[in-house]
Each structure stands twice: as structure tokens, then as C-alpha cells.
């Protein structure tokens, strides 16, 4: 698939307040990610660090329609989902720094962000299981007669995995309240989706499971917002799942420290940077005169300041106590229980 085919004119709908909210949410993710990438270079973030830079419109456009009680199941590229679902940037940063104040107490790092209190049910280091877990949360909500919704975010790399097939089928046959959000960023790590898929149009696969599928420009937050609103409402009504394919692009490397080009061209990267989701909305807001450029600059400064504060919080936080390493292996919560097995 060429880049040109995925590019649509910005069709931003006429909801000024919502646009401003979405813009600020995207900024929060972007600035936090840039600081985390810097922290990785500085050696504060260990292990793998997969940033969400370039894909912010997807998490923000979808999570705008979720309540705290709704459940998000995310991927290895999950910082943006956690932030969009309401996990504090301080807790995300501290987790990547391996600190006790992190959202997983330092047990998880980047790929294991848990904050069930705000419906962030985890990121995962394995591609696919989160799709099935969202189906299960949907099952529990339906069993309890609740109108809560479960969302699975996943990349194009997940759709050739059996979990995608099994999960969409189960959700469809039982009309479960689930929204499946494929962030098609064209590469699974560094393998092109066009190579890996017999049919690279993900949304078309929905028909095979008997549920609706919609493809949208994943760099246009208002377009994502519109289809997500419909999909979440359908799930909440009890009418069943929807598959959304958001065509987008990560403009940084697969993970920090890996190459940005080689498996893809600089021209391709540049063409997607030219239609960065945040820049797109910014030029729309300024171009239509809705918001003054200096006001937006002030928001940007604020977002940067908050991201820096999150990093400072992480740096100042304590390391986990090694004596707690046996805690939480099982429900007894005690070191004694873990040792006795």
C-alpha cells in the first residue's frame, strides 16, 4: 500500500471544545513520550521502550468515549493508551524508571503497565493476548448486566495471530461489548504488513466474523473520534463488537535505540511526519482562527513542563524494596506463600 492511498484530507468536524480536549490529550502523550525517549538515551529507562509518537490520534480519539469503568487492554506500545485512559504521567514515567511509585510498582516496566483503578487493564509483551482479554472483560460485563465496554488496542502485527481470529469470532457470536482497534502502522517491528498479509485491508476481515469493520485515517483524530463514538455506542447498547482499522504510522523507531530507516525509506518517514496528527489538528485550529497560535504554544509549554515534572518525579522516587520480590505471586500477598511452593 502506498502512503498516498492512506492519506485523506483532514475532515475535522465542527466540535471546537472536543477538538481542544483531543489536542491537549495528544500533546500530553507526545511530550511524555519525547521525555521518556530522552530518559532512555540517558540510561534511566531500561529494557525496551516502544514510543507511541505519531499514533496519538488513535488512543485519544477512542478513549475520549470511554468512562473510567470501561476497560482498555493494550500492547507493547502502550504508553499512549495508559495516558489516554487516565493513568498519571508520573506513574507511567516512574514505572519505566523501575521505581516503587510506578503504576506496576516497578514489576513491569514499559510493557506491563497496570492501573485497573482507571480501567487500564494492562499492556503486554506478547502480541495477541490482550485481544482475548478484552473479549473476556466484555463477557464479564455482559454476564453482570453492566453497560461497560472493553477495548483492545493492537497493531497490524497482531491480526495475523490466532488470538485475533479467535477473539473476534467469540465476541461476534456472543454480541460482546468490545471494540477492537487495530493501529495499522504498516510494520510489525520491521516487517512490512503488505508482505505479511494476504489481504492488507484489516477492516475487511470483520466481515469474516460477522461484525462491522471500519477503516479510517488514524492520523486524523476527529475521524477516529467519529468512528469510535459509533463503535463504543454500539457496544454499550449491547449490539456487539466492531473492528476499527486506524491507518497510522510510528515516526520513531520500533523501539528506542533501533534504526528509524533501512527497512523503510526516509522519504516514507518524512511523508508521514508531514501529516503528523498533532500538527494536522494544530494547523486546522489555527488556520480556521479557532485558537490563536500563541495560545496553543502556551498549551505546548504546559504539556512539556508536566512531562518534565513526571520525569523528575520518577527520578526522585525510591527503588522497590528487594524484600518485596515474593509479594503478589498469588492472592495470599505474602513472601511466605510464594516460598512454600
Amino acid at each position: 500500500m502506498s502512503v498516498a492511498q492512506t492519506v485523506h484530507a483532514a475532515a475535522v468536524s465542527d466540535h471546537p471544545d472536543r477538538e481542544l480536549h483531543l489536542y491537549k490529550e495528544m500533546l500530553k502523550i507526545r511530550e511524555t513520550e519525547l521525555q521518556l525517549a530522552r530518559a532512555y538515551r540517558d540510561g534511566h529507562v531500561m529494557g525496551a521502550c516502544h514510543t507511541y509518537v505519531g499514533q496519538e490520534a488513535v488512543a485519544v480519539g477512542v478513549c475520549a468515549h470511554l468512562q473510567v469503568e470501561d476497560a482498555v487492554f493494550s500492547t507493547h506500545r502502550g504508553h499512549g493508551h495508559a495516558l489516554a485512559k487516565g493513568v498519571a504521567a508520573t506513574e507511567v514515567a516512574a514505572e519505566l524508571f523501575g521505581r516503587a511509585t510506578g503504576c506496576s510498582g516497578g514489576r513491569g516496566g514499559s510493557m506491563h503497565l497496570f492501573s485497573p483503578e482507571v480501567g487500564m487493564m494492562g499492556t503486554t509483551g506478547i502480541v495477541g493476548p490482550n485481544i482475548l482479554q478484552a473479549v473476556g472483560a466484555g463477557y464479564a460485563f455482559q454476564l453482570n448486566g453492566e453497560d461497560r465496554v472493553a477495548v483492545a488496542f493492537f497493531g497490524d502485527g497482531a491480526v495475523n495471530n490466532g488470538a485475533f481470529h479467535e477473539g473476534l469470532n467469540l465476541a461476534s457470536i456472543w454480541d460482546l461489548p468490545v471494540v477492537f482497534v487495530c493501529e495499522n502502522n504498516l510494520y510489525a517491528t520491521e516487517v512490512p504488513f503488505a508482505y505479511a498479509a494476504g489481504n492488507p485491508e484489516v477492516a475487511m476481515r470483520a466481515e469474516g466474523y460477522g461484525c462491522p469493520g471500519r477503516a479510517v485515517d488514524g492520523n486524523n483524530v476527529m475521524e477516529v473520534d467519529t468512528v469510535a463514538e459509533e463503535a463504543v455506542a454500539r457496544a454499550r447498547r449491547g449490539d456487539g463488537p466492531t473492528l476499527l482499522e486506524c491507518k497510522t504510522y510510528r515516526t520513531r523507531a520500533h523501539a528506542e535505540g533501533m534504526p528509524e530507516v533501512g527497512y523503510r525509506t526516509q522519504e516514507e518517514v518524512d511523508s508521514w511526519r508531514a501529516r503528523d496528527p498533532i500538527a494536522l489538528l494544530r494547523s486546522h485550529l489555527v488556520g480556521t482562527g479557532r485558537v490563536a497560535a500563541d495560545e496553543i504554544s502556551a498549551w505546548e509549554d504546559k504539556a512539556r513542563t508536566e512531562a518534565l515534572a513526571a520525569i523528575e518525579f520518577a527520578k526522585a522516587s525510591p527503588w522497590p524494596d528487594p524484600r518485596t520480590v515474593f509479594d503478589f505471586v498469588d492472592s495470599s500477598d505474602s513472601a511466605e506463600a510464594a516460598r512454600r511452593s
Partner: protein
Amino acid sequence: MSAASQTLTFTEAAREGLAEEMERDASVFVVGEGIGERGGNFNTTLGLFDRFGPSRIRDTPITERGFVGMCTGAAMAGARPVVDFMFLDFILDAFGELVNQVAKIQYMSSGRLRMPMVLRGCIGVGGSAATHHSGNYYPFFLHQPGFKVVVPSTPRDAKGLLKTAIRSDDPVLFLEHKLLLATRGEVPSEPYLEPLGRARVRRTGRHATVVAVGVMTPKALAAADSLAGSGHDIEVIDLVSIAPLDTATILESVAKTGRLLIADEDYQPCGVGAEISARVCTDGFDLLDAPVARLNGAYVPIPYSPSLEQAVVPSQDAVVQALRDLLAE
């Protein structure tokens, strides 16, 4: 005693326990292939579809990874799933979900998410079920932190342990040997629970200890009876709990007998007996009057033909011989 108890088969007792827990807690639901109106290949849910309806007795497509992953999410969201694999062999298609997700989510979430899930299935060699319907597989789950595993051998334990497993906030494998399903036994009429994590001393003795796993328990008891005639006094421990291992009960017995045989239909290498042996050698070396002995199924894929099938299973006679050898040490 008889006024307060009833005689049930292993399957009937487990089913009664399941129904009681479903009655008690509306968040309990069962998934599996053919468990709906059909009542399960092994009658695990017979009659329960009519009582609890399709959302709580949920027939699934043949999609083991799918429904295990789904039940993981359901447990994270507060429900209490019971996964009925029919044959435990089918669990292998869901192994990644179990090891990477089910076993780890409580830890990774610092205990803010719980994993109340029961994984039940029939195990073991018998009836020419052949190699895809005869596996035991439990050592895998002893190796991985995060699981509890029980292998009951009596109807009383089947019911009491299944009820406790359903109430547990941890993932519990509840494994039923095919050849024990029709076993009849006394089951209390009053509500009761049996504890996870405990072995049972089924027969006391002074000369040697047999730790038996599941289907080996009745064989070990019969072997002990046959040796009693020649003056040998054998203690038989029904292991019941594979994870965690009840090392204390075993060490207490070895302190008395000085001799230990572990009888397990499953394979020997890296098996339950290997772990028990290591623990006894580490924590009870001075208690031993002879090397720890192990009796296991043959280390081959399970064959079909009765003559071959019988050749891979440790018989009652093999237990007798293993004990004679141990007593002669």
C-alpha cells in the same frame, strides 16, 4: 456417619460441588466444548445448562487459546470462570496464555488484579484413548510460579477441592483421572470444603512411605494391603496437591519410615517425584535409610493398543515390586 453422608461417584461429587458454587456466586461461569445441553463429554455439567442457562454454562467453539484468553480477561474484570477442557491435552493450545498471562497478572499488577480461574480436565492413561487424549502434564504447572494444582483421587476430595478451587482468587488446575471418574465413595451430605495444598495420609505404616499421585493412590493402597501379609507395614500418602507440594507431610512420614517411594503415572524426568526427592534429600537426608525410589510411567508417547498401553502404566504389581526392592535396601 451414614446419616450424614451419601455415596457418589467422583464425577457426581465434583458436579454437585460445581452446582453448589454456581448457586452461591452468580459470577461463576463455565466454558467448554459440549458442556451446554450435552452436559459435557464426561458429564461434568450434566443438567446444569437447564439450571443456570447459556451464559453461565457456555458452550464454546473449538478455540482453546481463545476461551482461556477470554476467561483471563473475565477474571481480571471480576468474574470467576471455570474452564472445562474435557481432555487436559487440549490445554496445550492455550499454554502461552496460561504461562505468560494467567500465572503472571497478579504479580505484574502488584495484586490489584486477581486471577480466580479454575482449569479442569481429564488426565491419564486408559481406555485406549491414545496419545492425544492421555496426557498428565501437571509438572509444567509446578515449575511455573503462580499456579495451584490438585489431583484428587476420591469423590470427597473431588467435591471439596473443586469448591475451594472456585472460591480461590488464584488459578487452580483441577485434574481428574479418567479411570477414577466412576469411583464411588462417601461424601458428606452437609456443605464442606477441602483445603488446597495438603497431602492426605491414607494408610499409616512404619516400614516405608509411598507418595502416590492420583490414580496411583488406589494401586498403592492395594499394594500395601498385599504386603501386610508378609509383615511389611506401608504408609500411603495421597499427594492430592501438586502445587504447592506438601513437603511437611512427606518429611513427617519419612521421619517415621526412613524409606520413600514416589509412584506417579506421569513421566519421571523433571517430574513431581524428582522435586519431592530433591526436597527430601535436602531437608531430610538424615531421615533416609535408603535412596529415594521413583516409579513412573514409561517415558514414551502414550500408545493405543491395550498391550502397549498396559506396558507404559505402573501396575499394582509394579508398586509391590518397587516396595520390596526399597525394603531390601
